[in-house]
Symmetry: C2
């Protein structure tokens, strides 16, 4: 039995680990396009900031650790073509040597590619110009060269999603003045703007210039000064022109699934052009599975969606690895749970926001609430800003968004909500949960229960349904 | 409509607040035995430590706040007798004035009384001797007098449960050398001794002398020195005699339900002598409800149990207050979720431990595991020690215990487990949860999922059942 995984990131490695764990006699081969298998690319901002001194520490496991599990790694090897009928992967190694690797089952984990936004001049600039569209470890190294070889004092970050925000913190930690530019009306568009604005305030309080609702139209080298710099220009929210000249530019404009290998082999594509898979991570091609940022993801509330996330890739990879050996495990589904630390704030979300819930056919009510993370009399209490979304018709909990201080256990509070939504709980049932309490770490009604109560009050006032957890309809 | 609550702590006040919220026209009266309604008695260690400068801050709400909701408080008033047939509460106020308060519905929230352990001489000593059996705000004030009026340099704490441990930290913070004595084999008997021993190590590293498995047999004043001190003696775990002479003694030997008022009125008693109530918090007496530390508590895994906890009292009080106005709300049930901070460690539990699960008819398997709270490459990672208990037959999650650094989000991680157990989830399903991840605050597989995986591996190795979450049997 030979299982071949294509892709050395979360999905491919998770599949290979699971296959090896379940059947040590299986031959497991992972084709890795670069020399960095199983790297925590989410950790790159912390290498840039200096929190992680050695980039090698960003590896979840070393090559030796991985090979000790029995898998074989084919590093710096590009998968050129899959012949699904013949059960063959055609690859080219670093030396240009072509090879055909036969497989019994194949797991495609080709991940995603960064979107290159439509900015005039961007295609003519690259890492050597200190303009970086970040995605891979190689991109991270290029950024570090830009920062180390020049005396970068200013930077523009185009995009204010998770990585863009983390990089703003990282560059600020290096003493670089950052301008953060977001096309949408507020930073961190993954949460409602009422919460995104708290993140924007935190950025500004740390000296980051925040330009939301701002479109970058042109980018070009600028040699008018003694040293080479980069000039960007475009329009702010009110249509006024803006221009900045900086030493370094980082671009984070999202990702799209990397599906060419699979599509060329005949794999069916779905939502957002990602590879269509069932909950067992099977493609339409016989004995070919796919997982991670290249596939359509099962979402517990939406059905199918495209949600590229490392946590999901790990879980889907594990399912694919089990099923590649003949298993019938199903991926339980995503809720789009995400968290980001930005300086001293943590922002998180799980499930659906109001407009997402409405689009999915729910009748959502979204309510804002605030509560302390622990009893105010104990030192160090922090307010947590919350937004709770539930379905008016059934009382079902649909989504929660939280922003609070990094010491306010916001990440694990969102996990309580993720657990509740996974189980199909009502908002009211959150209020019934037997959550822990001690004055330094909570309240007799936890902050999450204050949020649930606020939602229930608002639902009752507006004629919504607030069933008890024993309601048979829930 | 007149609702009378007896008891000014969590249950009575919660009932009164809920009744007032649901029907502002209802007349709501709360009979409070002392002058401290709605106090966070859990906060008293932080007043003793000095973290809370003013004891008034320990009030969840002030008297004015409470009365602003419409309720009337009868402070320093003792409920002497209930005439359930006549729907009357007979009370005596601070001036000795007797009064009869008629009610339509009554909520009994008389709470618990501290157990006085069987120690020779204890009955002859009290607060004036710097020997304190702690329970009420008045007891807390007496402790503060002992600490402030003498120059206390040494203390013995008899009992190493939650409050005893918190007081050890508090007295240490005041520069007092503490000897902590626990009759059971390890401190914090609410968790398995493997985890209790971590708490004992933390105590010792902070200079607390820990004597576990040690019984105090005698206590007496000791005037051999120039100042009055207290001598305690007994036997250590190996039967050897021990003796300590200290300035202050605190006794925490648990509580028992305070039921005399209810029992005299004809209320039926149940488990551990607590008032028997149904899930609507109704006693057997017409129109009489009871809630909090004086009642038998519905436990989601055990059926009925006696689990005196503030969180439970709040929830039960709220249910009782709603039903006292004619509602039919049910208390969803406790899981015995608890958390305590001891210096830099946090210990927590929810659900059942192995022996509790076995006694309840489950076929438990308990597995130890360890995981980092966040990616080790990001500074400040801490190990979390875990014990996971699941049912071999069904794979159902029964209980989790966690001990870790106070910054490791242990309290909210136990809440994830409490939410999972509330929903009847399998251990495997925890592994499927879409939990949040960012390197400073988690891992792609959260620590909780490492624990769930460790349990599943051990269950598989020992022939147990590891169903998927979609297994129809779960």
């Amino acid at each position: 039995m030979r299982v071949v995984a294509i892709g050395g990131s979360d999905a491919g490695i998770s599949a290979a680990l699971r296959a090896g764990e379940l059947d040590p006699s299986a031959e497991v081969i992972v084709v890795v396009a670069d020399a960095y298998p199983n790297f925590s690319i989410c950790g790159s901002p912390y290498y840039v900031s200096g929190d992680v001194a050695d980039w090698r520490n960003l590896a979840h496991r070393t090559v030796a650790d991985l090979e000790a599990t029995g898998m074989r790694l084919r590093l710096d090897t590009t998968a050129e073509r899959i012949d699904a009928d013949a059960h063959e992967a055609h690859v080219t190694d670093a030396a240009g040597q072509r090879e055909v690797i036969g497989y019994d089952t194949l797991v495609i984990g080709t991940g995603a590619l960064p979107v290159r936004p439509d900015i005039v001049g961007l295609d003519h600039l690259g890492g050597a110009d200190a303009v970086h569209v970040l995605h891979s470890m190689a991109d991270t190294f290029a950024v570090m060269r830009s920062l180390q070889t020049s005396t970068a004092r200013t930077a523009a970050i185009i995009g204010a999603g998770y990585l863009g925000l983390e990089m703003a913190e990282a560059l600020t930690a290096r003493g670089i003045a950052v301008t953060q530019i977001e096309q949408l009306p507020e930073v961190l568009p993954a949460v409602d703007s009422e919460l995104g604005s708290l993140v924007a305030s935190e950025l500004r309080s740390r000296g980051v210039e925040v330009l939301a609702g701002t479109v970058v139209k042109r980018i070009a080298g600028d040699d008018s000064d003694l040293r080479r710099r980069i000039r960007i220009d475009g329009a702010t929210a009110d249509g006024a022109p803006f221009e900045r000249t900086v030493d370094v530019v980082l671009v984070f404009a999202g990702v799209r699934p990397d599906v060419s290998l699979a599509a060329d082999a005949g794999a069916r594509l779905g939502t957002r052009g990602a590879i269509d898979v069932d909950r067992q991570m099977r493609t339409n091609l016989t004995d070919v599975y796919a997982a991670g940022d290249c596939v359509v993801t099962h979402h517990r509330l939406l059905g199918s969606a495209y949600i590229p996330l490392g946590t999901t890739a790990h879980k889907q990879g594990r399912v694919a690895g089990e099923n590649a050996l003949g298993g019938r495990r199903e991926f339980a589904g995503s809720l789009g749970t995400q968290v980001v630390k930005v300086f001293d704030l943590v922002a998180s979300r799980t499930g659906l926001r109001d407009h997402e819930a409405a689009a999915a056919g729910f009748e959502p009510l979204t309510v804002a609430a605030e509560a302390d993370d622990h009893k105010a009399y104990y030192p160090g209490a922090h307010r947590i800003a919350m937004r709770w979304t539930g379905d008016r018709r059934t009382g079902r909990l649909l989504g929660v968004q939280l922003v609070g201080h990094k010491d306010a256990e916001v990440a694990k509070r969102i996990d309580v909500a993720a657990t509740a939504i996974y189980s199909g709980m009502s908002v009211h049932a959150v209020n019934e949960l037997d959550l822990s309490y001690t004055p330094p770490l909570g309240s007799p009604w936890d902050a999450m229960q204050h949020g649930a109560q606020a939602w229930a009050r608002a639902a009752a006032e507006t004629g919504g349904r607030v069933p008890s957890s024993v309601d048979p309809d829930i």
